[in-house]
Point group: C2
Chain length 324, copies 2
Amino acid sequence: MASIKDVAQRAGVSVATVSRVLNDKGYVGHNTREKVEQAISSLNYKPNEVARSLFKKQSSTVGLIVPSIMNPFFTELARAVEDTASKLGYNVILCNSDGNSEKEQGYLDVLQQNYVNGIIISSNTLTAEQVESLNIPIVSIDREISSGLPTIVVENKRGAAVATRFLQKKGCKRIAHIRGTVGVVNAEERFEGYKEVVSSEPWYQESYIVNGNYDMQTSIQATLALLERHPEIDGIFAANDIMAIGAIKVAHQLGLKIPEQLSIVGFDGIALTNVMTPELTTIVQPIYELGEKATTMLVGLMRQQPVEETYYRLDVELVEKNST
Amino acid sequence: MASIKDVAQRAGVSVATVSRVLNDKGYVGHNTREKVEQAISSLNYKPNEVARSLFKKQSSTVGLIVPSIMNPFFTELARAVEDTASKLGYNVILCNSDGNSEKEQGYLDVLQQNYVNGIIISSNTLTAEQVESLNIPIVSIDREISSGLPTIVVENKRGAAVATRFLQKKGCKRIAHIRGTVGVVNAEERFEGYKEVVSSEPWYQESYIVNGNYDMQTSIQATLALLERHPEIDGIFAANDIMAIGAIKVAHQLGLKIPEQLSIVGFDGIALTNVMTPELTTIVQPIYELGEKATTMLVGLMRQQPVEETYYRLDVELVEKNST
């Protein structure tokens, strides 16, 4: 690979002159500039971005830490972050934490040491203190860490209440809930929304609530056990779409007709919900907008531009399909 | 953030001494080492990885360029690459090219300028010359660029022939094919495998072949048109799973019973195929192994270790489910 010295030699100028041309700083005569540009082009010289980032104490990369892109919600989010970052001139380093705090901390260290100058994270283990000790902008997405930090989340509790009330409106008399990972903020909020609607019902009982851990396989096991124990259940609100898809699979296995015998509502609005048979009724989050807004906000913070708003709680909406 | 100077000052030694401790090179007395280590720990000093990478002309990052992680095949592949890279001490920069040659070239430039020291790519636009001009190790995955380059692909043609023959064995008399993106090597190979089995059949005609462009929506449109034009079709081999899932959706829409009236076979073996109703019969690729092997090979090449084999064509197998 050609170096800046090779360029200087070919153009018959000093390295400092080449540097002035590259950085567009200081006076360079027209003819000299042309000679340098020809040398750059003929040698196919690429300015050394690592050296630049050392100089500027920043590289053109942002980090994105999510639990796992195997959940399509995070795939779609990652795609939105990468598209937006790319438009703004940044690359994205993608890290899967598996919701494990050691892996998260490891990635945070590595990203910071590489002068990544901003991070978008969906974490359920980080504390506000840990984030503040990082010295680079962090935007928390999907899961709120602290109300003082830049954050983009959605109306989880309200969405869950809408989903549960919709099942009631559809005539369901016994509505179960498949919870997301215990301790994760948005899972707790969705659980609250469910309870708000049904906890005063005469039929309400805690054994209608099972833990699906935001995971399809776990949801399949939990739903099987739930429906064997409580065949009277005629409605399920699952705290995310992949768990709802797991519940649909169980209904098919047990020969239950959807929605005649069992209605199911999910949460997220991933593209996959439109591919299933039946298509899934779900609380749709503006996933792409979440990723887009988070990235724009992060880049604004990194560039120390005035950022109007650093806390968003975006709205969600129920989209009815054939599972209810 | 603390600098190496701060550490030196706190420990009461020179910067060169701190550097010797950090790099574990040259003599440092036991007491001095302890003082430096205490200073590093109390200042929470993180060695500057960008400076190191400039020195070593490498960073601890590999690049992964895929058409789009929105296709679950690439999501699963990306996850395998990241897991393996992480175990070997590397981060992954993930880039979506959308199969667009300009985007691909842009990412290759950016990655190289940031001293990423190896790239795994699934490309259908790059030429061998372009790859060779890069001066860093490249492993081609899923799509062969040139037989001279490090490559990991699967038995596409054989798998496609197995799929088509299986449909015949199941009693299908009119077998259609939904092609992958025209010009993409693996799509052409799968098309060849289909033709090898059926092109000598008396019923064979070119209008049984439609282009699904490896995309679910395109496949839905193409399958609709195909089945309206040719209601006699009783078997479909789709060149990937998401197109097969699109075809299942169309069958549901048209009220066709699967597999009684229409049998469908896909290609890839993504996790999603087990979630569908009916579950999809498909040619299963060892996706995780593909990602793992590609990463191990790439890291071996980067470290200039002896690499036994640089060309793999892994086997595939038909897994029968309820769509046939």
